[in-house]
């Protein structure tokens, strides 16, 4: 009996060690990725990323979109999982029954957690934010998710997702003091891109950082990907790719 117990403990320890190593591996892989943003605004939810074109910001369903970072293949897997789950639910019940809470709780989070804990399969290297636009900004839902299946609701209408969580927290604080509901789109975009540059270049986030000039901002050869979940449109499809999105 004692021998079996020791064997069990040993297997558990090996599993925990494997999970720990796996977490480190995923975080190391994600450290090369650049941040993505989602922001609840009076006109809708703005999603912003900088990538290769159709690589960071995507439409999921009528009222839903995702901004993600990580391995392109893994972003694609999560995107396809979300699109399939949303369309099946919308077809079997109705588009109103497709909610972000259910998508995240019953489809995406379990898929991410299973992938992360299946130690003999490659993990999904992806993190990001899902958005669901409502009638008013108070009805909007933003959910950040991580590679291990954990997710959390963003309560202040601003999501900054990065592998560097400390930098993401600082960026949120910096943005919160500068973003106003009446700020125009260029101002909002300038502020988000200023943070994108600072986080990508690992600069110290503080008062020395200024709003980026959209005409001259250096995106390192990548392209701006931006979309609006437009709450004002009468169309059932709220997603609208904005200029700059490839």
């Amino acid at each position: 009996m004692v021998g079996q117990g020791e064997e069990g403990m040993s297997e558990l320890f090996q599993w925990l060690e494997a999970i720990h190593d796996r977490g480190e591996y995923v975080r190391d892989q994600l450290s090369h990725a650049t941040p993505v943003f989602a922001l609840s605004r009076p006109e809708g939810i703005l999603l912003v990323g900088v990538g290769l074109g159709q690589s960071k910001v995507f439409e999921i369903y009528d009222r839903h979109a995702i901004a993600a970072l990580g391995n392109p293949v893994d972003i694609e897997k999560i995107r396809q999982t979300a699109i399939e789950a949303a369309h099946l639910e919308g077809f079997n019940r109705s588009p109103q029954d497709v909610t972000l809470r259910r998508l995240m709780s019953y489809s995406l989070s379990p898929a991410l957690k299973n992938s992360f804990e299946s130690v003999f399969q490659p993990p999904l290297i992806v993190e990001g934010v899902f958005a669901e636009v409502g009638e008013t900004p108070q009805d909007d839902v933003l959910m950040e998710f991580s590679h291990d299946g954990n997710f959390g609701v963003v309560h202040d209408g601003l999501a900054v997702v990065s592998s560097n969580t400390a930098a993401a927290t600082q960026a949120k604080d910096w943005l919160r003091t500068r973003l106003k509901p009446h700020s125009n789109r260029n101002r909002v975009l300038g502020l988000l891109l200023a943070m994108w540059q600072a986080m990508t270049n690992e600069e110290r986030i503080g008062n020395s950082i200024k709003c980026a000039n959209l005409e001259t901002v250096d995106l390192g050869g990548r392209v701006l990907e931006m979309a609006l979940l437009d709450r004002k449109t009468p169309n059932k499809v709220k997603y609208q790719a904005l200029a700059g999105n490839a």
Binding site: E59, Q80, E84, L88, F91, N92
Partner: protein, 256 residues
Amino acid sequence: MDGDFLSLLPEHPLSRVLTSDSQALAGHQIEATTVLAFHYRQGVLMAGDHRATADNLIFSDRVDKILPLDSDSLMAIAGSPAVALEMARTLETSFEFYRRSQLQTMSLQAKTRALSQLLKENIPMVMQGIGTVVPIFAGVDYSLPKPAPTIHFYDPLGAQFETTSFASSGSGAGNVKSILAFQERWGSPAPHKMDLKQATTFALRLLTTAAQFDSATGGVDPRLNRYASVYSLRPGEVRQVTDEEQAQWWGKEKKA
């Protein structure tokens, strides 16, 4: 991950595919109606009355028979509503699923074939005489040098034909097609030269005439504030002509 929504359905127990089992209790059958589509100056206009009947019974005057499938396609339904509405819902989901998952819109040829496939799968219902659907489809052809909407009509077995100027389906279609052919050949203006207001008024007149000779077609009755389902299709834009617009344009026509 090929963007085929229909291939997902059998894997999920809640899902309902268009099979004879799921539609066996379709209930009242409607094969009597009038829907039509023709080219006007800016695109395609599609219209249909609101009446639904079963034999000699009128059980609704509020049915929408023109259904937008996405921002580039419209479908007019004539036939069994249980099957037709499910086909429209299936197509709508399939087109959006493909667009979102593949990051490109489905080609017009693929869309018309998708509807054709659904009609072929429905042949057992047609053979039983309780599920016939004879739709009209309009979609934008982006393969043309200048993208433009085209009109397609089908037989109940799924054969698909593209028409050059107009199509009509339902029990009132014979009258409507005669007038459309006449107007296209000798009318002034010909339908393809009409603007949206003229085309809408012309469509309302067609439905009114169809209703005069076909009891299953509801027609238009401004006294009862009863108008039609009217939609226009242009590249990237499906626009509903509202009852208020129809009332305004029909009223002006009467005064003139």
